[in-house]
């Protein structure tokens, strides 16, 4: 007994805590709660409200996965992570998944031992400046001071872009979006750069959004998506197909309101399979038949979530753009549910 306590203590002291178990799905079910890594606060994507309830676009994905796996979209523990801590938190098993506007890149997918299971927002890096600077293009930013979140892909894109365009700049490293917002608002930097969606969200949180412009240049591809640990394919399937279910639901017109009716009456076999009326897709990923139905019922399908959190009717006011369904000229394309 004593020996095991001693070894247990050593285990904690050592790096053993750094190793997540391979069967995340079983862990989540046993725990009865999903640990979801989100950003430390980005309006519209993940932000706790006045009552401490997390809301937002990324948060909705966490809740959908929790609903699919545990049957309850509220059984999520949100773990705020910074650009610096997010991958360590995931690799160490502190969180089961990341839904945290993280860019899918080659080295993250391979060298960092993560698995990006899909894209929930197609984004690109942009610049925001004060309107009274009179800058209309990012190419006029020669000599500017630029605030940049450290540990991100945007940091590297920024260096590359300024080099390619033969411009000079002074970087000011900030840790979180909130710090970047504060530095930019205080005038400690001329421009703030991050993903265009993040800029829109940041601007919406200002007292005077009309005094800031987002410059037209988009200098990078930033496919943002949920990530899980490499090597746990079963869990990757669960998270990935939950996202696909939300996307497919929009494509087939399944919403949180008409879902029950469609499940009962729809002749479309694809919808019937998705909603678990026909076939047994759920058991194939070790969930029950109604998993997708529960995922969609929490916040609605992809389109509903988008409209409620970051869409044009919200203060953030993002257009669907690349994030429209493929049938609408966008890039969202869920593989068949079959």
């Amino acid at each position: 007994m004593k020996k095991s306590v001693f070894l247990g203590t050593l285990t904690v002291a050592g790096l053993a805590a750094g190793l997540g178990s391979a069967a995340t799905l079983d862990d989540v079910k046993a725990r009865g709660e999903l640990n979801c890594g989100v950003s430390t606060g980005l309006t519209g994507f993940s932000l706790p409200d006045a009552n401490g309830n997390w809301t937002g676009f990324d948060v909705a994905l966490c809740r959908a996965v929790a609903a699919a796996v545990l049957g309850d979209g509220t059984k999520v523990k949100f773990v705020p992570t910074t650009g610096q801590t997010r991958f360590t938190a995931l690799a160490s098993g502190e969180v089961d998944m990341l839904a945290r506007n993280s860019t899918w890149t080659f080295s993250r997918d391979t060298d960092l031992k993560l698995d990006f299971v899909g894209v929930n927002y197609y984004d690109g890096q942009g610049f925001m400046v004060r309107k009274d600077l009179g800058v209309t293009s990012a190419k006029e930013l020669d000599g500017a001071t630029v605030c940049i979140q450290t540990g991100t892909t945007t940091e590297l894109n920024l260096a590359d872009w300024f080099k390619v365009n033969n411009l000079s700049y002074t970087p000011v490293a900030v840790e979180t979006n909130a710090e970047g917002e504060q530095q930019y608002a205080a005038g400690a930097c001329d421009a703030y750069t991050t993903d265009a969606s993040g800029l829109a969200a940041t601007r919406a949180a200002f007292a005077d959004p009309e005094n800031h412009v987002i410059l037209p240049e988009i200098i990078s591809k930033e496919p943002l998506g949920p990530a899980v640990r490499h090597g746990d394919n079963e869990w990757a399937d669960v998270v990935g197909w939950t996202l696909n279910a939300l996307i497919a639901a929009e494509e087939y017109g399944v919403t949180s309101t008409n879902m029950e009716e469609l499940a009962a009456n729809s002749p479309n076999p694809e919808i019937r399979r998705l909603l678990g009326v026909e076939g047994d897709l759920g058991p194939m990923i070790r969930l029950d038949k109604d998993w997708a139905k529960r995922a969609i019922s929490v916040g609605g399908n992809y389109g509903e979530i988008f409209a409620a959190t970051i869409g044009e009717a919200t203060p953030i006011g993002l257009a669907r753009g690349l994030n429209a369904q493929w049938t609408q000229g966008g890039l969202l394309y869920a593989p068949p549910f079959r």
Binding site: L10, T11, A13, G14, L15, A16, G18, L19, G83, Q84, F87, T88, A91, S107, R108, D111, L112, K113, L133, L141, D142, G143, A144, T145, T150, G151, E155, L156, L158, A159, D160, F162, K163, Y169, T170, P171, V172, A173, V174, E175, Q183, A186, G187, A188, C189, D190, H230, G231
Partner: protein, 420 residues
């Protein structure tokens, strides 16, 4: 009675390892040593297994890869095409810069405050007490953040120095037309030489030969001045009259370097607002200023206490004797008290220098890219090599601390009481 003096037999039995006090301590030491080594081996083995399970290897090859990010304050040549190893060097030099300047400022503050805290002037003594207690008892991180906030929130943006196109007047004007304190940096004049002697290649970085020439002139002047003084002392010993040396001292200590400066065409380049920012001068970032000031003031408070303790350790008889000899209070302090107090002051002062150097890793809070910010921050993040980066960083901090200790120990040996 005769049997009492029998000598115990000198045979060694295994049980004596446990029951004989002569051997028991050895047994315990060996046992604990093995336990310790087993624990260490277990930790290393565990780490290796876990790394393997995560599919990660352990190598430092990433240090030679392209870094890809920019660093705003760099003491040596660096672009985003440089390697991660180079970025580490830039960070290391930034750490050393803030640590060195911090140690100097903290010592100056500490000595002045420590002496003044003992002042007979009630107000001065109490003010110093307030300073020491406030700075010593609030976490350093808060001081860094507070000073940084003051710099960024209470100072104008560079834009405020731009003349209004209609009136031709700016909201703010530069101090003496040379210094501008903004919410990003303090723009100060930069020193430049119009006759460039070129750069000396030292492998890792370049050194400006003009600067070297000026330093050489200063050292030469100092050395010649010592010779002149030694000669004056010799003459004084022989004749009893000391020849005046002040004019040659001034010439050698000041004149020589100034002459070299003038010969090299030394002048100041003043900052001027062009585009978004001040250019031409030297922009000292607010993060550096905040970190430097906070580290100096915080550690200075501790050093003040050490200095005060050192002075109080010298018996009152010493100063009374000095007064009896007719020495003024200032000279008593500098000639009698402080040299003796140094023996008490130096050892704890070493710890304070080490603390300051290690505390400089709080730079991350204000985005000052020191070793923690480059190697342990961005490089760690972009390469995902946590273990390697952290181990390397620990090793470097350890090396810096040991070097500081060694240097200060040499100094301590020089000032300590010489015993025969």
């Amino acid at each position: 009675m005769a049997n009492v003096a029998d000598a115990p037999k000198d045979t060694f039995r295994l049980s004596m390892l446990l029951y004989d006090t002569r051997y028991r301590s050895l047994t315990i030491q060996v046992f604990v040593f093995f336990l310790f080594m087993a624990g260490a081996a277990w930790l290393v083995d565990n780490t290796m297994r876990n790394l393997e399970a995560l599919g990660k290897d352990f190598n430092f090859g990433f240090l030679w890869n392209r870094a890809g990010y920019d660093i705003s304050q760099r003491l040596v040549e660096y672009t985003n095409d440089s390697t991660h190893g180079r970025a580490m060097l830039v960070g290391l030099l930034n750490t050393l810069l803030v640590a060195l300047l911090g140690c100097i400022a903290a010592t100056v503050i500490g000595v002045i405050v420590g002496v003044l805290r003992l002042s007979k002037n009630w107000l001065v003594g109490r003010l110093m007490t307030v300073y020491v207690e406030i700075f010593r008892n609030v976490p350093l991180l808060l001081w860094i953040l507070l000073i940084y906030a003051v710099f960024t929130e209470a100072t104008p943006a560079p834009n405020a120095f731009r003349p209004n196109p209609e009136t031709g007047l700016a909201d703010r004007s530069m101090f003496l037309d040379a210094i501008a304190v903004t919410n990003r940096y303090t723009a100060v004049p930069n020193s430049v030489f119009s006759r460039e002697l070129g750069w000396l290649d030292l492998g890792l970085f370049y050194i400006n030969i003009d600067v070297l020439a000026v330093l050489a002139a200063a050292v030469l002047g100092w050395w010649l001045n010592r010779m002149v003084k030694a000669r004056a002392t010799r003459i004084q010993n022989e004749t009893g009259v000391r020849p005046a040396t002040w004019w040659s001292s001034v010439l050698l200590l000041l004149g020589l370097p100034v002459a070299v400066l003038l010969a090299l065409g030394f002048h100041l380049e003043f900052p001027e607002l062009r585009g978004f920012n001040f250019v031409g001068g030297l922009n000292v970032s607010n993060s550096f200023m905040a970190l430097w000031l906070a580290l100096s003031l915080y550690t200075g408070a501790f050093i003040a206490e050490i200095v005060r303790a050192g002075i109080l350790a010298i018996s009152r008889g010493q100063s009374e004797a000095a007064f009896a000899l007719g020495l003024r209070p200032g000279r008593t302090m500098s000639l009698v008290i402080l040299p003796q107090a140094l023996r008490v002051i130096i050892p704890p002062l070493i710890s304070q220098y080490l603390n300051l150097t290690k505390n400089s890793s709080l730079a991350i809070a204000v985005g000052y890219l020191d070793l923690r910010g480059t190697l342990g921050g961005i490089t760690l993040n972009q390469t995902g090599r946590e273990l390697e980066c952290v181990l390397l960083m620990m090793l470097i901090y350890l090396a810096i601390s040991l070097v500081i200790s060694a240097v200060m120990n040499v100094y301590n040996a020089a000032v300590k009481l010489k015993e025969r």
